[in-house]
């Protein structure tokens, strides 16, 4: 009568369950998940597009609003992804039901570089507008490549080759995924 529970190398059902659970949770908080990022993006667009924008010269032939829009969009995507993930992990730990997820072979991460990286990642300016001593912050910043890729796809303007951005982004994804997997494997911060 007992169900035999197999432990595969990758627990795909467990992984899918975590994705499903997160989507179900997001649907419970539509204002926080969907409306708030839009309001934030619209405020940025209003300020930089209609208040500050007209006073700034065109960048590579593009109006400032066109230039800033992809950056603002990407910044909001990154912020929303980060906030949703971290708040949920915090809440799961607080309510202790993350203990149940320890049986699945999966996830956790902690960073607080999002805002600074977004701001020196070319949301509001080109890299050449930065003082020379700060430009390395953009070239070494993964968010710069995300924004650069999106901007190129939207208005055709770029400051770095997309293949380089794609390779760096995928490399970063791989490194972080391995890091997260390792942290969760040992139950870092979850098992005392």
């Amino acid at each position: 009568m007992q169900t035999s529970v197999t432990t595969p190398a990758i627990n795909w059902i467990g992984l899918w369950t975590i994705i499903r659970r997160e989507v179900q949770r997001l649907m419970r908080v539509p204002i926080q998940a969907f409306i708030a990022p839009w309001v934030s993006a619209l405020m940025f667009i209003f300020i930089f597009g209609y208040v500050v924008g007209p006073r700034i010269a065109a960048i590579a032939g593009h109006r400032y609003l066109e230039f800033v829009l992809p950056g603002v969009l990407m910044m909001n995507i990154i912020n929303a992804a980060f906030l949703q993930a971290t708040s949920q992990i915090y809440f799961q730990r607080f309510m202790k039901y993350i203990e149940e997820a320890l049986v699945a072979q999966l996830t956790v991460l902690n960073i607080f570089l999002i805002a600074p990286l977004s701001f020196v990642g070319g949301v509001f300016n080109t890299v050449t507008m930065l003082p020379p001593f700060l430009r390395w912050l953009a070239w070494g910043n993964p968010f710069f490549y995300f924004i650069n890729g999106l901007r190129h796809s939207m208005i055709g303007f770029n400051e770095a080759p997309e293949p380089l951005g794609a390779v760096l982004s995928l490399a970063l994804l791989a490194i972080l995924s391995i890091g997260v997997w390792r942290l969760f494997s040992v139950g870092y911060g979850l098992r005392e």
Binding site: Q92, E99, E100, E192
Partner: protein, 249 residues
């Protein structure tokens, strides 16, 4: 026969320096209904946490049906159903979601999960409350959801950490009946509780833990033949009735 649970010289020291478990050894045979008793802070929950991988082990060994729960806690955990003392759930989720997610973590395919959830919802009289959020349920209903969640993967060892705390008499009796049935069907049960009547009614073997050590262990009948479970408990934990009476005075 491989024991359902075998703990040898378990020691758990928290980072704060608190020694929660100090050389605890005990064995629970397969098919047993085992009472694990002790005062608050004696080390019961820590022992359970070490067994289920929630806490790391400082030293000692734990085996669940022969699977090393220290080295491979996930494999051991898949054999264990845990009903913790606290309601550790997403309180905005529905009973079905709560049970379904844990079934998913254990890797149970969707169709089998659905069948099993229907069975458990029916068994625990939760069918009227499927669309309610957990936070909207009464204490007794919440406890049923937690039990259903513990049983979703049909564990061979069921660990119940004070399952009837705050539960009304009717549900308690119902729960006792269900646990007896489960045990009869072959599920080994480890029960911690402060209701000694529960232990007397359900358990076949008992261990009493105090200050992180087992201070007495044996068949229930041995306890009953002496001063009864309550007397044995009070004596083993160093709090005799006289001692308590003197304290009250």
């Amino acid at each position: 026969m491989t024991p359902a649970l075998s703990i040898t010289d378990l020691r758990k020291v928290y980072r704060s320096g608190t020694v929660a478990v100090d050389g605890l050894s005990m064995t629970v045979d397969e098919g047993d209904f085992f009472g694990f008793l002790g005062p608050n802070g004696a080390g019961k929950s820590t022992t359970i946490h070490c067994t289920t991988g929630i806490a790391t082990v400082t030293s000692g060994t734990i085996k669940v049906f022969g699977v090393d729960a220290v080295k491979d806690y996930r494999a051991a955990r898949s054999l264990v159903g845990l009903s913790p003392q606290e309601f550790n759930v997403d309180v905005w989720a529905t009973p079905v979601q709560i049970v379904d997610w844990v079934g998913g973590y254990f890797g149970i395919p969707a169709a089998e999960r659905k069948r099993r959830i229907d069975e458990l919802m029916e068994r625990f009289d939760l069918t009227q409350h499927l669309k309610k959020q957990f936070r909207e349920l009464s204490g007794g209903l919440k406890r049923r959801v937690i039990l259903a969640r513990a049983l979703i993967h049909k564990p061979r060892l069921l660990i119940l950490d004070e399952p009837t705390a705050g539960v009304d008499v009717e549900l308690r009796l119902d729960l006792w009946r269900y646990l007896s049935e489960l045990n009869r069907d072959g599920t080994t049960i480890l029960l911690t509780t402060h209701y000694l009547e529960e232990v007397e009614r359900l358990c076949r073997n008992i261990a009493i833990v105090s200050k992180g050590k087992i201070v007495r262990q044996g068949p229930k009948d041995d306890f009953l033949a002496g001063s009864g479970i309550e007397g044995a408990y009070l004596a083993a934990t160093g709090a005799t009735p006289d001692h308590i009476a003197a304290g009250a005075a």
